[in-house]
């Protein structure tokens, strides 16, 4: 299939491609509109290296930036979900204990589920993050929250964002990240020479994030054109279609004498209903019976006339 024939095939199927692409766009709009709204809560935290470079500000900043990049990858990979789940679980237990007013309720100093995690959420952290009261974020629902992180360029800051269908959950999960990151570092046995500080806590988002309707439409148009164009070419391959006139001679071995377009046939002057009748030598009165038929065999044998 040459480039020219591909172009012609696509042009022939232009309506097919356009209609199906429009269907793609309609489906993209429908799916986007039907999607649950997501809320995004963002917080900012500082990662400070307190190791041997503490005396050298530039080296310390570089080390902190490297750490921030590493942590961003860890957060982006979803490695903190276990710690956040633990955080929420401990806060939930505190809330239950507080509700039952039992003395000796967990205060975050012990964690039976995670022996390595010797330290739970600091006192008051659950309340400050809003895990208590009517919070809807249960440990089971942590998996519904998606976390992402990106280092702030040239600074030792890390921007954390948490997305959830519930704005409160998004805020809780975002604010739990520093504690979860510290717990992760402890659980993996890494040296804890760095300091993780919340610079700006996340607030409950008031509006859902954009549904990216325009982006989805653009993607649907591009995918639709590519997919439907390919489909049109596949259909063309399996279609028993005549080659183009310029390829007919090569394909079939007979020359194309002419191509006749769809004609615009005009009334012929002098041949319309008022025109002269065709001149016929035959006089209509001759005694030929139109109903009479003759066997072809008679014609083959010389056209013997019936008696």
């Amino acid at each position: 299939m040459t480039a020219g024939s591909v172009y012609r095939a696509l042009w022939r199927h232009k309506l097919f491609i356009l209609v199906l692409t429009a269907a793609f766009v309609a489906a993209a709009v429908y799916v986007t509109v039907q999607q649950d709204r997501e809320y995004e809560a963002a917080m900012l935290m500082r990662v400070q290296e307190r190791g041997p470079n503490a005396g050298n500000a530039s080296a310390a900043l570089q080390a902190s930036q490297d750490l921030a990049q590493t942590y961003a990858k860890i957060i982006g990979a979803g490695a903190l979900k276990g710690e956040i789940r633990t955080f929420v679980a401990q806060c939930s237990r505190r809330r239950t204990a507080a509700t039952q007013n039992r003395p000796g309720a967990p205060t975050g100093q012990s964690n039976s589920q995670s022996p390595k995690n010797a330290t739970g959420p600091p006192a008051g952290s659950c309340e400050s993050l809003g895990v208590t009261g009517n919070s809807r974020l249960s440990p089971r629902r942590v998996s519904e929250v998606s976390l992402s992180a990106s280092p702030v360029q040239d600074l030792d800051l890390l921007s954390i964002s948490a997305r959830s269908k519930d704005p409160t959950n998004a805020r809780i999960a975002a604010n739990a990240v520093p504690w979860a990151l510290r717990a992760f570092i402890r659980n993996t046995g890494s040296a804890t020479t760095e300091k993780i500080i919340t610079v700006k806590a996340a607030t409950t988002p008031s509006a859902p994030v954009s549904r990216h309707l325009a982006l989805n439409i653009v993607i649907a148009i591009m995918l639709g054109l590519i997919f439907n164009g390919a489909l049109a070419l596949v259909l063309e391959l399996f279609r028993d279609r005549l080659p183009e006139p310029d390829e007919l001679e090569r394909a079939l071995g007979h020359p194309v004498l002419a191509t006749v377009p769809s004609l615009r046939l005009h009334p012929l002057p002098g041949t319309g209903p008022t025109s002269e009748e065709p001149v016929s030598v035959f006089a209509g009165e001759q005694s030929l019976d139109e109903e009479r038929t003759v066997h072809a065999q008679e014609i083959r044998e010389g056209g013997n006339r019936e008696a």
Partner: protein
């Protein structure tokens, strides 16, 4: 006359037929071919329209031109030209009439002569290759510059092959642009098997008339 099927000879619509006439003339060269069998692989490919308009355009240049409706199964020329179906070709063959007795002549169409199909026949397939048809064509070739035969589609009847078996007769294959490739291949194979000489193909309904505004 029903004017819907014929081109205005001075209009741009006639140009493709002029080009076809010149191409056929060039292809024939020095051969003594006078009979052109217009056929196609399938019905409704435009054989009758093509043959009638080709004959019309040719009649303005080559005189005399005889157009014969050799499709005795499903004739169309008599409807197109608003003529009685019979007497026509069948009567000439069956009753040994002089062809000119059943010929209609149109002075306003360049003196085009037309023989319609005639009465229905029970087995028209045997007629096309018959000696009587051969004699008719010989006579027509002797008296006309060109004889255009509108024949049934190749894949429906062997008439085109039968007509092309006569001396001085060649085939013009009409190809509908939206037709099927395998049908055309089958039709050409059938022509090859019967040793009919196919002058070439005419692609019908290929785009729109570009020269309309010239």
């Amino acid at each position: 006359m029903n004017p819907r099927f014929l081109v205005e000879p001075d209009s741009a619509s006639a140009e493709p037929f002029r080009a076809l006439r010149l191409a056929i003339e060039a292809r024939i060269g020095s051969r003594e071919t006078k009979g052109l069998v217009f056929t196609s692989p399938d019905p409704r490919d435009g054989r009758s329209t093509m043959s009638a308009n080709f004959a019309l355009v040719a009649a303005h240049v080559q005189r005399p031109v005889l157009l014969i409706d050799a499709d005795m199964r499903n004739p169309a020329l008599h409807t197109m030209l608003d003529l009685p179906r019979s007497p026509g070709l069948v009567e000439v063959l069956r009753d040994r009439l002089d062809p000119w007795e059943v010929t209609h002549t149109f002075p306003s169409l360049g003196g085009l002569h037309v023989i319609t199909a005639g009465s229905p026949l029970p087995r028209p397939g045997d007629v096309a290759a018959s000696p009587a048809m051969g004699q008719l064509l010989e006579k027509a070739y002797a008296e006309c510059e060109a004889v255009v035969l509108d024949s049934p589609p190749v894949l429906n009847a062997a008439d085109a092959s039968g007509l092309a078996s006569h001396r001085g007769t060649e085939v013009v294959m009409i190809v509908n642009r939206s037709g099927k490739r395998r049908h055309l291949i089958s039709a050409l194979r059938e022509m090859a098997v019967t040793e009919a000489n196919v002058l070439g193909l005419v692609v019908n309904r290929e785009g729109t008339l570009a020269a309309d505004r010239y």
